[in-house]
Amino acid sequence: MMAANTMADQMVVSRRRLLIVDDEPTLRLMLERVLTARGFEVHTAVDGEDALARLSSEHFDVVLSDMVMPRCDGRCLLEAMRAAGITVPVVMLTGYADASDWSLRALGATAVLGKPSPVDVIHSALDVACADAR
């Protein structure tokens, strides 16, 4: 717990840019609140297509994405990012796939979390994704 707090303190300083991609506004809002408090500079997108537009023109340190979304879903986002050469780490947060969904990992997802995941699990996955990207 102490270690987590220390890491959180460091993040407040670094303000890493996080893009949350989810079509559910309430979940987007709650994730934004919790992860802003965690020290991220949080931006949001409503689906994969929206996210891709942001990722093509802005820098992000990490993406936290839902799986099932209209227009372009999580799988579509991963494929489009790979095709466009965008290497930002992506943590998938999905109600469908098992946490061990190898096909999403094969597409480049850094971690696949099942919904609902405890907040500390989401924190850890984002921390690891950011650390690996460095």
């Binding site: 979940l27 709650m30 994730l31 109600g95 609902p116 405890p118």
Partner: protein
Amino acid sequence: MNLTRRFLDELTTAQLVERLDLALEGANLGIWDWDLRDNSVQFDRRWCEMLGLDHETTPMVLDTWSTLVHPDDIDACYRDIRAHLDGVSARYQNVHRMRHADGRWIYILDRGRISGRDEHGRAIRFTGTHLDVTALEVAEQRARMEERARLQVLTNFSATLAHELNTPLQVIGLAAHELARVVPSTGRDGDVAREALQAIEVMSQRAGRITSALRTLSGKGGLAECRLSDCFMQAADLFRERMEGDGIQLTLADQSGGGAVRATSGDVLRTLVILLDASLRALLAGSTGERRVDLSARVEAGQVLVTCSDSGVPWPLGQEVAGAERMSLGPSELLGPIVAPYGGRIDVVGGEARNSFVVHVPLAETAT
């Protein structure tokens, strides 16, 4: 009995034959009478009509029957006939498909027995009946298909339900976490709020584990090495609350040492769910002494042994259980088709007023 005897005595042979014929016709039975010495067979008119054949021109030989039986069914017919001739079965009975003259396959319930022996006791005559059971077979097949379809709907519904609940549960968990951050750190109100938020967080996590188990149960996912310990936790999440509510103690003892079986996680969890459900039903039907269920796993000679025992009414459940319940399949029948493809088997160990089912499945390393 005397009245029957007197009634029969008063009938002429012709009347007897006529009445027998009426009975056979009423029962829609065709008759065959096989002479084992030369393979000639007397088929009656109804036997022929059942297959769309003309009685006048039908060859009265065994080949008439055998060439019309479905090739996939003929071996089982001869096996059952042999079993009766060898004295293994009291009579011959087999359901097989036969080609009707109009080209369709019909299902025949074929029954018979030895009707004559020579002076050495060898069977020389074999007589029996044919009954067209196509409608019954088709109805049973339809019922089986409907059962499968119902299970499929339930399975899909479990997956959908799990998915639909996951997002609200995620929001509840995050909201509780966020509120906990701003609740006053001192004072009675703060204590109450923190307790309430902790309860929300704990319960939403528990609900999350249940939806996760439902997702596993819905059977998405391919063959993989499944650790027993993970599936034990999921099975317990699905049953513990219910059992505790009924005053039943559930104990888990995973001594598999991280042992894994190569199976779909859905099949492993389904196996555990069937075992626990059987124990729950046995205990709800009655129990002797302590109400408890013990689920354990251990590794022995390259096999994972999962044992589920309870102190409930022995299987098959006794008379005190409602009729519909007694009609349902027992754990062995339900588990057989699930574990057989993995080279597994089920042992039923009774005694000492306890039900005990042991499922053997090869360890992942030794499974083929």
